[in-house]
């Protein structure tokens, strides 16, 4: 009985002392609480890229729910080569453009439409974030997005496009991206472009692996690289792999993207299989994308 009592007393004494220790330093107690909370909550990584496009193609980034992103993209003619040079004002005499809208239905699902001058192409797509890079409870090393795109060539040519289905191109793309540090984000983009009626003697299905990334130069600017490698067995003859370098410059609600690229198309089914210019021959163009976002939805909600 005595022993029992003594043991109770000792145990109570120990708890008292331990409480007393805790209460002497509430800063330490707070630290412990925060640590526990960090492990209990999932915190998603944000701002992997400045905007939804890396250069020509998609980045792993979406617009937030209720945000409309107006895209105005231009590509000039090549600076060098046969259509460039001083006579053509280094390609600036002629430009082709794409006008588009991206809209976030939820924080994970974005839809978009666009119209490109070259080939008079209408395109539509959605981008779904399957996995989101996160720390904490449901930690995830990468963000994975799925982007299916349909492109309709509306160019008038009754001989080639004898029926509507010949005008259709489909692209299925996965984007696997990771924000490694505050400044460095990298992604890879395995892509299949299916053309219903290729007019370039190439295969119907073109397989390509894209790689790209950004390195921030300051809080509001970054240097970007994007490369799409067409697998040799499925490559369109006479074409080159799309390679682009550029800068993102953010000013308030705008993101300006200025770049050099050997592609003039601005949808996947154009610039992946149909890049006819070569960096080696000096055939790279100046291009820019302007992105302006508008908040349409009332309030954005972190959880969808």
């Amino acid at each position: 009985m005595k022993k029992k009592l003594i043991s109770i007393v000792i145990s109570v004494f120990i708890t008292t002392v331990s409480f007393a220790q805790d209460t002497t330093d509430i800063s330490k107690l707070l630290e412990a609480q925060l640590k526990a909370e960090d492990q209990n909550k999932t915190r998603y990584i944000t701002a992997t890229f400045k905007t939804t496009r890396l250069i020509n193609g998609h980045s792993v980034e979406n617009t937030a729910k209720g945000v409309l992103d107006l895209k105005i993209d231009h590509r000039f003619d090549p600076i060098g080569g046969s259509s460039g040079g001083a006579y053509n004002f280094f390609g600036l005499d002629h430009a082709t453009m794409r006008l588009g809208f991206d809209y976030g239905l939820t924080n994970r699902l974005m839809i978009g439409i666009g119209r490109s001058a070259e080939g008079k192409i209408f395109d539509g797509f959605f981008k779904l974030k399957i996995l989101r890079q996160a720390t904490g409870k449901n930690a995830m090393p990468v963000t994975v997005s799925y982007v299916p795109t349909i492109a309709v060539i509306s160019f008038r040519n009754a001989a080639i496009y004898s029926n509507f289905s010949r005008r259709l191109n489909f692209t299925n793309q996965l984007i696997i991206g990771r924000k490694f540090t505050e400044g460095l984000s990298l992604q890879t983009m395995p892509t299949i472009v299916h053309r219903n009626y290729p007019v370039d003697n190439g295969p119907q299905n073109v397989f390509a692996i894209g790689v790209g990334g950004r390195q921030k130069l300051s809080k509001r600017t970054s240097f970007n690289v994007e490369y799409y490698y067409q697998l040799p067995a499925y490559k369109v003859p006479g074409t080159y792999n799309s390679f682009s370098v550029g800068f993102d410059i953010e000013t308030g609600s705008h993101v300006f993207q200025v770049h050099l690229t050997n592609s003039t198309g601005m949808t996947e089914s154009s610039f992946i299989p149909q890049t006819i210019h070569s960096w080696g021959k000096g055939e790279f163009s100046l291009g820019f994308n302007i992105s302006r976002v508008f908040t349409i939805g009332k309030k954005h909600n972190k959880t969808w």
């Binding site: 009985m1 005595k2 009592l5 003594i6 109770i8 007393v9 109570v12 004494f13 708890t15 008292t16 409480f19 007393a20 805790d22 209460t23 509430i26 800063s27 107690l29 707070l30 609480q33 925060l34 526990a36 909370e37 915190r43 944000t46 701002a47 617009t63 937030a64 729910k65 209720g66 945000v67 505050e182 809080k219 509001r220 000013t251 308030g252 609600s253 976002v293 908040t295 309030k299 954005h300 972190k302």
Partner: protein, 186 residues
């Protein structure tokens, strides 16, 4: 002998209860800030503020996760984290302070007490000593703390580019609301 042991037992029990009751805790404290500028007003809310109050010493500690501030526009939230607060480098804001007029408050009695809290506020990696007015309300064993004060953005080395000077105020109005409950060890 038995009586003495029992007495010691009870004494420790009382001490330990006291020890528990002097620490109050919340993880759902609320901090809002308001920026009033010619072009737009910006308001942000954070409902995940963690804070502990030691009623015996009159000490407060606060930890505020910068990424938990919610804005009306997603882009504001991104710019807040990326460009202004640099929340990757400085993920938290902290405050540690003491009630300067602790003797006026009786935490075991229900009531409403105006107080002054003085301490160190750390935002964006910069620590400044501030003294702010507030109120403490004791009711049903819980403690509510409320405070309104303002901070100058410049004091915490947060740079606002000239181009957005009409969008973001130089002084932010901050409101703190915390409902503390007795701290229980998990």
């Amino acid at each position: 002998m038995k009586k003495i042991t029992a007495a010691i037992f009870i004494a420790f029990l009382i001490i330990s209860i006291n020890a528990i009751a002097q620490t109050f805790f919340t993880r759902n404290g609320r901090i809002t800030f308001f920026s009033k500028a010619p072009i737009e007003n910006i308001e942000a809310n954070n409902n995940e503020v963690t804070s502990i109050l030691d009623t015996q010493k009159g000490e407060f500690v606060f930890a505020v996760l910068i990424k938990s501030f919610k804005f009306q526009k997603a882009l504001m939230e991104e710019h807040f984290n990326e460009n202004y607060m640099e929340s990757n480098t400085f993920p938290k804001a902290n405050f540690k302070g003491t009630i300067t007029d602790l003797s006026k408050i009786n935490f075991s009695k229900e009531g409403y007490y105006p107080v002054t809290v003085k301490g160190d506020l750390t935002i964006h990696g910069v620590t400044k000593t501030i003294e702010v007015p507030g109120t403490i309300t004791v009711s049903q064993g819980k403690i509510n703390a409320h405070s309104e004060f303002s901070v100058k953005v410049k004091d915490y080395n947060i740079k606002i580019p000239a181009i957005v000077i009409n969008n973001i105020a130089e002084t932010l109005d901050i409101t703190v609301d915390c409902k503390y409950e007795p701290y229980k060890k998990n």
